[in-house]
Symmetry: C2
Subunit: 189 residues, 2 copies
Amino acid sequence: MGRWEADAGGRLQYAAMSLYFERGYDAVTVAEIAERAGLTKRTFFRHYADKREVLFAGAPAFQAGVVAAVAAAPVDQAPVDTVIAALAETGGAQLAQYGEWARARRDLVESSADLRERALIKSADLAAAVAAALRERGVAPGQATLTAHAAVTAFTVGYDRWADGNGVGDLPTAVRETLADLRTALTPG
Amino acid sequence: MGRWEADAGGRLQYAAMSLYFERGYDAVTVAEIAERAGLTKRTFFRHYADKREVLFAGAPAFQAGVVAAVAAAPVDQAPVDTVIAALAETGGAQLAQYGEWARARRDLVESSADLRERALIKSADLAAAVAAALRERGVAPGQATLTAHAAVTAFTVGYDRWADGNGVGDLPTAVRETLADLRTALTPG
């Protein structure tokens, strides 16, 4: 967790997750998070809009990384392979930091309607950004939308499987295996 | 729109959608919806929790219809074909009522972060209910989750395409064509 403690944003994130795990999301206030981090409420609100956002602090960097990887990918790849590689490699580099906390964080998000809504919005925004990046590369709009949604589904379910394994296995491998399973699931009878 | 006007719930839905289209979602109050429908605020809150829910009034019946169709489907079908048939036929029967309002309703949902969140929650709940119905039929949990998510994606995008066409075409056909496009999008390079 060294990276999280380096600056105020990281300390607040660490403090928030620790408190949410200890007492449940609803019971924790912003004042308590700030106190645990040794900072003020004012500093909290300079970094995060509310006590939900602190759990999704990495989302903008993750989305930007995925979009950049899609833009930089070889042009001779199938779009779905481009997107899965971008999600898996960026996720492996940026989300693997949750490590042993991955499962607990996922369960925390599932425990609250508020957090679940925010997570769904983040996924939908990510899919929309990926679809736009594919259209930039000349992929037809209909195919771009479906490819983005399917790849984000494979990533999300693959991430869940990785989190179920307590973040011990390799995230990119879990995502690629999930894409293969998604193809199998879509095979006509 | 005859069906909506038959009872208080339907009259409130019709009044709400008319007002949202006229003035935008944010500008309309529950009191105005009730007044337009010739009913009281108290009657509104007997039917709907808030001014968001009135736009998703059909969701519980739609989800129940889809789950029942999955449970009743022939057992020799591929799970994805079972789910797409359930979504397409139930959607064709229940959502086609929006008719010429389908595109305007979809644009309205996209216009508001609140409504978009609610729509995403409804889709996630639908996918979870479909996955549970598949597990009931003996489909392995991992395959059930992926099949449900992929099928709901095909339905959602197919519904959007149908709405783009102003609800004139056939919804089940749009959904089946979108599933075919999703399979193409997932073909490896």
